[in-house]
Symmetry: none
Subunit: 226 residues, 2 copies
């Protein structure tokens, strides 16, 4: 079951698109402006975002930029402007496809499907990650070790998710900060240690002897991939 976030300031369009997408089997969430879109993206973690570039207030391109600080979710852009420049900028910012107004809802659905198929193939944004007997469900914001659910704060969850996207790979504290905060300040780096400590207390059977969250001395941390 895939979730699509639709962002448009025109209610008519939102409703139309919602209908078609729901009929195609998607769960649809909508927002009508930039801040709302970002909030919705954080909360609902959609599998794809349909974004109208012609939003009032915050510019659509800025929305993508902000979005990219915390999510690689694919974006399909809708634009009234037909100038190639805009499309290019959109694509450079990580948009995955675009449509120009007026567009047919059918075509939108087709593009959404195509983009999802593409990004799936690229292995992006899987909704559930399994690392050993650890299960990280991004959509549900849930972590389980075997059958037991583990309660994490959002920062802990984001940290675990970042490591889980590439199990086995070592991450420096700076990289982890970037993953959970968007920016990396050297002074905050020891905060990572605190989160790791708390994570271990919650998900390691024996926090003294970590099985999942491993320390790489002098470098950083990694999530065991066995």
């Amino acid at each position: 079951m895939r979730t699509v976030l639709v962002v448009d300031d025109e209610l008519k369009i939102t409703r139309l698109v919602r209908d078609y997408l729901e009929q195609a089997g998607f769960v649809v969430v909508t927002a009508s402006d930039g801040p709302g879109a970002l909030a919705a993206a954080r909360q609902t973690k959609p599998d794809l975002i349909v974004l109208d570039l012609g939003l009032p207030g915050l510019d659509g391109l800025d929305v993508i930029r902000s979005l990219r600080t915390f999510s690689p979710v694919p974006v399909v852009v809708i634009t009234a402007r037909t100038e190639e420049a805009d499309r290019i900028v959109g694509l450079e910012l990580g948009a995955d496809d675009y449509l120009t107004k007026p567009f047919s809802p059918k075509e939108l659905v087709a593009r959404v499907r195509a983009v999802l198929r593409r990004t799936d193939a690229a292995g992006l944004a899987p909704e559930v990650m399994v690392v050993g007997d650890l299960t990280i469900d991004i959509l549900r914001h849930e972590v389980r070790r075997g059958p037991v659910a583990i309660d994490l704060t959002s920062t802990e969850f984001d940290l675990l998710t970042a490591l889980g996207r590439q199990p086995g790979r070592v991450f420096t504290r700076g990289q982890m900060l970037e993953a959970i905060r968007g920016v990396s300040f050297p002074s905050y780096e020891r905060a990572i240690d605190a989160h790791v400590k708390n994570l271990r207390r919650k998900l390691e059977p024996d926090p003294r002897r970590p099985r999942y969250l491993l320390t790489v001395h002098g470098v950083g941390y990694k999530l065991a991939d066995a």
Copy 2:
């Protein structure tokens, strides 16, 4: 500095694409047929490949198939055929994006950038060095000799990595210090010997008769390149 391999049999297109990509800051390598593309891919290890599916001789899809036997490099496909089937097959074979002719060079550049950003984020193309039966995985910070994992400290790892980047080349102690510490102080140079000793103890079957970490008397050390 990213390298892009462009494969097309039409010289006009190759030249056009080359110009645009170079202007965008890429190093461009070209090939005009399937075998040439595979050879170039092996040799230059491009960060991305732009591939025209309508090649004479070897079919474009076969090129991707062969390519996939030795490299996970992202591929952007160009096709004159608009049938979805072809595109799908291409995507299933690991192509990361596609364009249909005629396409605008600007859009191609944008797609190349988008794909590189995506695959970077997904952490594809892990940096792995293979020297003899020694495997050095930078991202995972792991070294294996054949199947057995070898546990190294971060300094030992950095040292081995520095040598591994140019197997066979001799490095002075000063150069090695620079590689692992950023600066080179003459007084510390004997510390290198200590690290070499520890490295040998960990990864040489017989530390007395080094097979990998060789001494070049009066000069420094090198990593055997056989």
